[in-house]
Every structure is written in structure tokens, then in C-alpha cells.
């Protein structure tokens, strides 16, 4: 009997084609088309030229640092959280894990609105702080500011950090921490020198997942940032939706983001393969 290994690959290839390559190809075609209503047949690179707009660059830069801050926030919360969960007894571990995943299951938009009621002026947070006598006179001014965007992004994308980090910790042999303690390492040293390096692949994957998604987010900056702080996702969305439309520029921006993120993925894959030796 002759085997047809490529047949096994077919579903994967179809999936890749339908959900990744095809949309990407459409975007690429739009990017080189002419600006029209909304696009006209034609060919030219002018949309890419318009990328080097002094207005676009700061938006890209801001997206980069907000995404970086959100990724760090997810890591700072997600790493200890994963550790906490993985050290629970087997049975309660599942429960904790699903609790963390809830934001994914529930309607995230509703949850983001909940955050606005917490962070807004005279909202829950300020009420609470006021009762504790901790409220500055001018309020925190948290909502509709970059910190609110970061808080929202951390909340929304935390599961994407916890998932791979938790998985890597579940594979970790916790006797290694005892071994380190036995040899004289304190808690911090054991975590830094033993747990962290061994869960690093999970950390890299988590950071990547969070960074890529937060970089392109547009709902959170709109809702929690008060639409004052444009991120590249907003810019792309605007170029497609708001007038005057410029689909080629939107598409070129999207391609540039995909390319930039591809570079990030490539670097982290290099890092990861180096880690795994």
C-alpha cells in the first residue's frame, strides 16, 4: 500500500490558506491598488510611501511601548499567578485555571465596560479610595488615559500569558527547587536561577501572544483610552472606515505591522531554540 503523506497535510494547508494566506493576499492587493471609492484597480507603491508620515511614526512608537507595558504587566501578574495555580493540589488546580480563563469566555466588551465603571471619575475605585482617605483631590484621572489602556489590555490578554506559562510550569520538576534550596539557594535565587530559565520558553510564547495582540488592539484604546491615544489598530481601522477612506494606506499599514511582528516572532523563535539548545 502506498501512503500519501501530503494528504494528511491538506487540511492544515487549506486552513492556512483560507484563514491566513488568502486574507493576507487580499490585503497585499489592496495595498498596491489605487485609492478610489474605496479602491480602484491599479498598481503602485504610493501607499507604502505614505507610511513614512511624521504622524504615523509616533503612533507606531506609542503602540510599541503600550504593548510592551501591557506585556510586562501580564507577565508580572501572570507568572506568579501561574506559579500559584500550579502549586495547588491537582483537583483545585483545574478550577483556578478556569477562573483565569473566564475573561476569554465571557463577553470581553461587557467586562471592559465594567472596568470603565471601576476606573471612571467618581467610579468604584475613587469611591473606595475616598472612603479610605487615599483619594487625591483631583481624583486619579485613570480612565481615558494610557494607564487605563494598559490596565484594560493586561486584564483582557492575561489568559494568553497564563496559558503557556502555566503549561511550562506544569512540566517543570519542582524537586529542582528543593535541590536548589538544599544547596543553599534562597527562594528568590531558586526562582531566578532554576524556575525562570526553565519556564522561559513558556514566557517567550506568552509575551509573544500578548504583544502581538496588544500591539494591534483598537477596542481597548477606544473604550478605556477615550480615543485620545491612537494606536496602530485604530489607525488601520480609521483608514478603512472613516472618511476620507484610504484603503491602500490601511492595507499597507496592516502589512507593515504583520512584517514587524513577523520579525519579532522570528527573533523570539531564535531565542527559544537557543534556550532549548
Amino acid at each position: 500500500m502506498r501512503s500519501r503523506p501530503w494528504l494528511l497535510l491538506l487540511p492544515g494547508l487549506l486552513w492556512l490558506g483560507a484563514f491566513f494566506l488568502l486574507p493576507l493576499a487580499i490585503i497585499a492587493v489592496v495595498a498596491v491598488a489605487d485609492r478610489g471609492a474605496p479602491v480602484a484597480w491599479g498598481f503602485g507603491w504610493s501607499a507604502f510611501g505614505r507610511l513614512w508620515d511624521p504622524l504615523v511614526v509616533p503612533v507606531l512608537w506609542r503602540s510599541a511601548w503600550i504593548a510592551a507595558a501591557a506585556t510586562l504587566g501580564c507577565l508580572a501578574i501572570g507568572y506568579p499567578l501561574s506559579y500559584f495555580i500550579v502549586r495547588r493540589p491537582k483537583r483545585s488546580r483545574r478550577l483556578w485555571y478556569f477562573l483565569v480563563l473566564i475573561p476569554l469566555a465571557a463577553n470581553s466588551l461587557v467586562l471592559l465596560y465594567a472596568w470603565t465603571t471601576i476606573l471612571r471619575p467618581a467610579g468604584l475605585l475613587e469611591n473606595l479610595a475616598g472612603r479610605l482617605g487615599l483619594l487625591p483631590e483631583a481624583g486619579f484621572g485613570l480612565l481615558w488615559s494610557p494607564p487605563a489602556i494598559i490596565i484594560g489590555l493586561v486584564y483582557w490578554y492575561l489568559p494568553f500569558m497564563v496559558y503557556p506559562v502555566y503549561a511550562s510550569m506544569e512540566r517543570f520538576d519542582f524537586r529542582l527547587l528543593e535541590a536548589a534550596a538544599d544547596l543553599g539557594a534562597g527562594v528568590r535565587t531558586s526562582v531566578v536561577r532554576v524556575l525562570w530559565p526553565q519556564t522561559l520558553p513558556g514566557v517567550v510564547t506568552g509575551c509573544l501572544l500578548v504583544y502581538m495582540q496588544t500591539f494591534c488592539s483598537f477596542v481597548v484604546p477606544d473604550l478605556l483610552g477615550g480615543a485620545k491615544t491612537l494606536m496602530v489598530g485604530n489607525l488601520i481601522q480609521q483608514r478603512f472606515l472613516s472618511l476620507p477612506q484610504d484603503w491602500p494606506l490601511g492595507a499597507a499599514l496592516a502589512l507593515a505591522v504583520v512584517a514587524a511582528l513577523a520579525v519579532v516572532v522570528w527573533i523570539s523563535m531564535r531565542v527559544q531554540s537557543r534556550l532549548e539548545g
Binding site: L143, G226, K228, S242
Partner: protein, 351 residues
Amino acid sequence: MKNPHLPRFTAAVLLLAAGLLLAACAGDRRETISLFIWDDFIDPDVLTQFEDETGIRVIVSNYSSNEDLLAKLQVSPGQYDVIVPSDYMVQIMRRMELLAPLDYGLLTTVEHIDERFQGLPYDPEMDHSVPYLWGTTGIAYLENVVTDPPRTWREFFDPDRSAPYRGRISLLDDSREVLGAALMALGHSPNSRDEAEIRAAGELLRAFLPLVAKFDSDAFEDSLAAESTVLIQGWSGEITLAKDENEEIRYLLPQDGTVVFVDNLAIPASSRKIEQAHLLIDFLGRPEIAAQIVEFTYFGSANASANERVDPEVLEAPGLQYPPPGVARYLEDVEEAADLYERVWLELKSR
């Protein structure tokens, strides 16, 4: 216009659900047409009446901005049979030839259209659109906080005057509305195509921006009702509705220019059910039906005969007042100047 309690994302989900519903109904022999309309912009009961009378079922889906409407129409031609673009969008869609000409042999109720809404510049002969509801863009505030409210855009955008409300002010997330208000504050037309004037409006806003909490067209009335914001630029219908939640809310029409928007019933050129679409538009023009819609939406009807049937108390709401002569302005398609508006807007937001 622009009454989205739900933002775009949810609108897209609803759209998808509507699409699935449409597919599910494919087996249904009853005739259907698809109405693409602002959120909360029609009383569902009206559609039931229409179905009872004609046997045509109306499938409703929502959008939350004119731009959204345009993009969806461009991406899925043939999907929608009746749409409700605002004034300037009618102009744009006419320019893009996206609208089907109306057949007045099929529209018997147009005689009720208020004279004020006839011969408007975006479609003077009503070739492609019939005015449906109208509203205004004005200034809303909390009376208990803002004791001396700005009566004009000039006062509104005066940083010194508005300084006490720093961080509690919101503007619409709409370049034409915001720049338009700034232009009027400077004494220009909200449809100015003059680069110097538009840039000056941008400068005015730049100076004002530190006081602004957010740009929001989706939930500005909720924030005001919750007292997170206290002084805002907003649309009349939402503000009027929000008064039920917070009695301190007041609405006024700026005396140096109040944008009046008219949302119009129109038929996409790509529709395959032009005749049935006319039936619906005609039905919505019946005075008793139009009156029912006013009482549901708190927007003013373009139908003169309808207002006689509306509860007088509703008609007295500030949100339903038409600006005095010389104050009303309409937003128009600014054509090639649109790029400049967008540019100034972007500079403001990417600062």
C-alpha cells in the same frame, strides 16, 4: 443619527447574527427585506405592523457610524435593501453612485415631509433619499456642577472658561463634528474648505485638548448620566433619553451654530428588492407610524403631519427643538478638503 449604544464590534457581531438569521430564513417562503439602520432608531412594533399588513418580513441590522455603513455597503453589495444615511453621507453616496433613484409613483406619503427638510443641499430634489428623523448636535451638561454653562461653541472651547471641568469634558469621536464645532466657534462655516480656517480650528482644539477626557460617540450620554463627565458635546436624541437616568442633565443649542443632522431613508443601488424597499419607506412615512417612531426614539420626525399626533410633552423636550433661524447648520460633503480634515484630526490625536 449616530445613536450607537453599542460600538462597532458588537454591531459586527449583530450583523453576523443577522446574517445567520437570514440564512436560517432562506427556507421560509415569506418575503423578506433587509433594513440597515442606526441602533435604537426604529420602534420594532412598527415593523411588526408592516409585516402584518404586507406579509413582508423586515430583517434589521445596525451600524454605529455613517462610515461603518459605507464600508459595509461597499464590502457586501446586495445585502441591504433600505439604509438610513445622514445628510452628508447621502451626498457622498450619491457621488459614488451607490444609491438607487426613488420612484415617486410608489411613494405616496412624501407630501407630509416638513418644508424645512425639503430642498436640502445634499439631495435638493430628493432624488435618492427621503428625510426620516432629525436631531441636533449641542452642548449637554450637569446643572448641579456646571452653574454657568457655555451658550456658544466659542465659550465652550475657551480653555479658561472650561478649566474647572478639566478631565470631565467629552467630545464626539467624529472629525467633522468636532472640527465643525471649532470652526463655528471661530465664526466660520462647519463646511469650510479653507486650509487656514481648518488649521486654525485644529489649533483651537489643540489648546483645548488637555481639558478633554475622551472622544466618544458611542456612550457619551452614559458617562454624563453617571457623572463621570459633566460638560459634553452630544447628540440630541441620546441626551433626551439620558435625562430619565439623571435629572441634572441639561441640553442647549449653541447660538454660534448648531449642526442639524437629518437621517434619510434610501435604497442602495445594489438592492434586488427595490419595489419592496419602496413599500417600507412609504409605510414609515405614514403620519401615525412616524409619530410612534418619534415617541420611541426622541428624535424629531421630518414628517410634518406626524408631529400633530405626538404627545406635546415629548415635543417640548429641548432635544426636539429646531434651532432658531440663522443658527441651524448642515454638514456637507467637503470633497477634496476631507483629506485635510482627517489630517488635522489625526495630528490632534497622535500628538
